[in-house]
Symmetry: D2
Subunit: 110 residues, 4 copies
């Protein structure tokens, strides 16, 4: 992961792109890449498989999302894996097994 | 990271939520979480700092994005760090330093 | 529609919010509202009906999307209905009935 | 507007695409089109103008958003202009002029 973060920073610096990569813009880019993943699935049925081409496309878009997520997180010195672990602990409390098991309701409904 | 992936799987299994977490639905959830990050920045100026509350909120949303990204990637046996590294190699070719330095144009314009 | 556009402008002006409503920010807000529509459907099956509460929620989010779409379009003097009609004419050529009938492939695949 | 709605329905029917246009899928498509608008602005400064090509691109994407918004609304017999007008009345109460004038905070903060 650290190696990946370094290579992203070097990539940006070599292109003199820091000027464009304000957190606000990175948030936009992240959502655009997430939408490209949505696009792959939008007309598919829930259990419809992806073709090898679509799987490769998905793989690249997942890569893009992680790149922007890391770049954004770096701006605020956020360790994304640590942030996700802590969020999972919150989720454990927010969605108690005995209340939500087998149900997909929003937590505000409990 | 592996520890995080295991805890996500255990979280889903304990709640019997595999039935809802089709790849298509995970793609949607991922984009919804990305939008929650966009929401933090939408009315801000490019260089406007985040309050401590907003930073904590951002941290949690970044956690959410990573959780759904990992869950989606797992469905297709994609290693997200490897996918991002490979995408960076492609980007290196797609955006040659001598052509794009200091410019933000889309690659299709080169 | 013109009445709606006038009321949106009056709403913004009364709150002195023009300063926040740059086109870039309106684009972000539009996508955030679109994501709130996605959120309603994310864990649902394709043919699962919405509850009356969800339908009312959807109705409000659709209202929000139209408000931001109109506000953004106004900044560039775009008539949204005319733009959609012209886009439908382009779509008619892009997706010839004899090639796409019953298929959901992306147009780049034809 | 009614003319536009009719032409969208005819377009879908001629291509036998009703099978793909479940509300869930239309919500996804709507958010993907909204993201294409975000993409136009993502690396731009707040006050940076769009080129004629970008303006034409924006115009087409705005058309796409309206098309999917109308299609989704039709599924639930929602009149989008009426929904937006009613939402504006709610917004008027949610954001009282004396409290929010000149401020961009979220309504939950008042």
């Amino acid at each position: 992961m650290n190696e990946l973060i370094s290579s992203i920073k070097a990539f940006i610096r070599a292109r003199d792109w820091e000027q464009y990569h304000a957190p606000k813009n990175l948030a936009m880019a992240l959502s655009v890449e997430a939408a490209e993943i949505v696009e792959i699935f939008q007309w598919k049925e829930a259990d419809e498989p992806l073709s090898p081409t679509e799987q490769e496309h998905l793989r690249q878009e997942i890569g893009d999302v992680l790149v922007y997520l890391l770049e954004l997180a770096e701006k605020f010195e956020i360790d994304i894996v640590k942030a996700a672990k802590e969020k999972m602990l919150l989720n454990d409390k927010k969605y108690p097994v005995n209340l939500v098991k087998g149900k997909a309701n929003k937590y505000t409904e409990y």
